[in-house]
Symmetry: C2
Subunit: 504 residues, 2 copies
């Protein structure tokens, strides 16, 4: 037998690798459940996933992990080893601050709350869900107290998705966004141009196999590596990875509506390019995935919106799309198509929102969840507060709670502090894209030619390969020389939609 | 918080359920690797599978398991609880008898041996593999010593696949089979009937989608429950389950050869019907899967051979098959097709062997692996010994070691004692089938009408639902009133092939 004398650092890495393997296996259990698992597997799969989560959590919060972290000590976080230790310690401390009874109680409560939310949304009946949310809120407040914070309990929860970011920063960001977007939305809604239904070209008869082939061609050109990934179908599209060698996307196809598969595929591929681009040496370590939800979303949004809803992209790809769907699109001009994929129009539903109003949906949720956490708003008052803000920010009123306060699953899962990462992603997508174009001014012309390797290469070099080596604020500063800043994003929105709607 | 006061029995069940979940998750990692995983996932997947195996093993052999087993004590094994404890203790004792260093060494050695075997077979070069087998053998001998045995070290290894069965019983079984089969093979080979190539109808142009549809129709009729399973493609077909609600099969299709998918689908479905039929209360316990490799194989063989290669079956299904493949089979009569799927002809390759000569392939391996374990035969002598026995039992000589001693993967994986379970399966398939027909003489007529529910129901009631509640010898005795007995199987072979070849 080979003798093994492992250092504390090696032992720690082994332990974290074991935990990472459990989490990858659990990821596959999830992927399979969403894609191929037969109906009969539901109960068994729930047990398997609960067991793997529990084992991974137990092993991570075990004193053994803390002992090894202490034995190794801190190291200069500018080194890879130091960055890994810093990230491991951060996650360990967050995990161990929560009493295991509280973690179990949150798991139990949200496990009951989600199916209740499903029913409540189906029946558009807030009362079926309100009691569950009333149980979840005090648990999340308690969690925030255990996790600790300087200014506001919201910071403690937000930190779980966007390390280091604070509520105060978000307020500043949203203030700027609201000031910039509200007049744009007003101007467009007051605009009296054509009366046609701009989005009409996206509805018609779109053969699923053709949609799939077109999407594959696009994401292959983006640089998605099929030797380290695959695409399957699922009702709710997602990207998931089991290490850098296996990063998968899923897509939902609708034969009557082109948008979900077309933009969904680009969106999930943006996430996938990030994960495929991470330094493979980080596999099975805490550095081996994207650094935050917001930075992750910046990449899905960059490829979906800044590339996939741009003129340069479609000047190349629209003729190909017309070839794929001659009947539906043969007589739709490229300008009409470009307008169709960039309709700015307030709607009550977040996931159907355009690039601009999307952020007002997030602002609304952010303000409401802060108020709920502070107990400044009661669960009973929430539906009215929702509708009032919807009217104020978007000028629309949901026809019932199903398309209002009940539309999102997040709160039923206890995800308070998560929504803002969507807008952080939007904001960062433009900051990053601008930097890429500054470094390589030829990028827009290349996109016109269907060449994405300069953009992809820049993103990989500056963002992807680092995985979680830098915290999001460090990464943003390192890449753009500035902190998170909504100004470039607002300039982008005003320029794009100003031109589209002929605003002054 | 709800207080939990678990009894030792509940704690033991929880622990075994956790281990079962880990093993199911590992099963999914395997299934995915064989079906959908992209090439780039290989390295990561190997780590994940190794980690889950290790965790399941560590948790099982942990003193905690032994402590709980001792605390619960033994109970009457005729109760379900008692049977579960008996099976758990048996597996625990087998697992803990092996020193973990030896387990690790076997894992390492066979991990290197398998790719060496692949190369050796590709290049038909025994010398590339011989050194690996020389390392594996002493490790398996050592394992047998640790496991313990009364008469022969082979018993200790065989017991891992066929609990309770002994080498001496196998020798008796094989002696009877050899005496019965050898004259049959000789008679057929000396027979001078037609000179046509009987198997020709199985070769031609068989559209893959049509093959798949036909196979699905057949196994749906057998009773395969698609709500608790699915069928995918893999190079090496298999059946795998992740609990009673999710039992999957895989199939290999060849457009030029009908046999692999046709009979492979029925074979794997036989395994699947067994697993789908187990009492769902046994899920996540040691009783929740088939009781032995041999009993499992009896079910795959029963559906593949006793149903799927029978006249009654094809009197119903051949017209449907002709409809599916009018060009290839339109002018092939049903009798010619029945002869084609029942050619008795010695060949050097086990997996291509007919129902009769198959067992001589197994006998040869059984005798050689006993001799290797006893050191009565050296690894260097093995290829010649193989060829000599091949000539003696089957009258054929492999043209090289690739189609001789190197044809099977098993020994490179350290699977000594496994091969005989194939023949046990063949023998039991007829014993069980005869009992079913004795209880329900209408079964052959029902098969003629494409009705399989009486047969399936009888098997579920008498065999499937029990899972691992009874050891194989107990089950055989309970179902047939007799021990394992080759006589019915020999009668079946003589009757079937005697009629087919017009022997007296």
């Amino acid at each position: 037998m080979k003798e093994k004398h492992e250092t504390a650092y090696e032992k720690l890495k082994d332990r974290l690798a074991t935990i990472s393997d459990l989490s990858s296996a659990n990821g596959l259990l999830f992927w399979d459940r969403q894609t191929y698992m037969p109906e009969g597997g539901v109960a068994g799969r729930a047990e398997q996933m609960a067991t793997l989560s529990r084992l991974a959590h137990e092993m991570f919060v075990d004193d053994g992990t803390g002992g090894l972290l202490d034995a190794v000590g801190e190291q200069d976080p500018s080194s890879e080893e130091g960055a890994m230790l810093r990230r491991a310690r951060r996650e360990y401390e967050r995990a161990t601050k929560l009493p295991s009874d509280l973690v179990a109680e949150i798991t139990r409560t949200t496990a009951l709350a989600e199916p209740a939310w499903v029913r409540a949304r189906e029946e558009a009946d807030w009362s079926l869900f309100a009691g569950h949310l009333e149980k979840i809120l005090p648990l999340k407040r308690e969690a925030a107290e255990h996790l600790g914070y300087e200014d506001h309990p919201y910071d403690a929860l937000l930190d779980g998705y966007e390390p280091g970011t604070k509520k105060a920063q978000l307020e500043k960001m949203f203030e700027e966004l609201k000031e910039g977007i509200a007049p744009l939305v007003r101007a467009v809604s007051e605009w009296e141009g054509d009366e046609e239904d701009r989005a009409a070209p996206l509805y018609g008869d779109f053969d699923e196999a053709e949609q799939e082939e077109f999407g594959k061609a696009v994401i292959s050109a983006f640089g998605y590596d099929w030797e380290r990934g695959r695409q399957d179908r699922s009702v709710h599209p997602f990207c998931i990875n089991f290490g850098p060698g296996d990063v998968r996307v899923t897509t939902r196809f609708e034969e009557g509506w082109l948008a979900p598969a077309l933009f969904g595929t680009m969106h999930e591929t943006g996430h996938a390019l990030y994960e495929q681009g991470i330094n493979p040496d980080y596999a099975r370590t805490p550095l081996g995935s994207g650094t935050s939800m917001g930075v992750h979303e910046s990449q899905s949004r960059l490829w979906e919106n800044l590339v996939g809803r741009s003129r340069p992209f479609w000047s190349r790809y629209y003729p190909k799309l017309q070839e794929a769907f001659p009947e539906a699109l043969g007589r739709v001009g490229s300008e009409a198509f470009y307008r169709a994929i960039n309709v700015l129009e307030p709607s009550p539903i977040r996931v159907e929102a355009d690039e601009a109003t999307y952020n007002l949906h997030i602002l609304l949720r952010f303000e409401l969840e802060v108020a709920l956490l502070e107990d400044a708003l009661s669960v009973t008052e929430l539906p009215n507060a929702w509708n009032a803000k919807m009217e104020e920010y978007l000028g629309v009123t949901p026809k019932n709670d199903a398309e209002g306060v009940l539309q999102d699953v997040h709160w039923s899962n206890g995800l308070f502090g998560y929504f803002p990462t969507y807008t952080i992603g939007n904001v960062l997508s433009v900051q990053f894209f601008d930097e890429a174009v500054k470094a390589h001014p030829e990028i827009p012309d290349q996109i016109k030619e269907g060449r994405f390797s300069t953009l992809h290469g820049w993103l990989r070099e500056n963002i992807y390969r680092h995985g979680s080596r830098y915290y999001p604020d460090e990464l943003v500063e390192k890449v753009t020389g500035r902190p998170l800043d909504p100004a470039p994003y607002l300039r982008y929105l005003k320029s794009k939609f100003g031109e589209l709607y002929g605003l002054s």
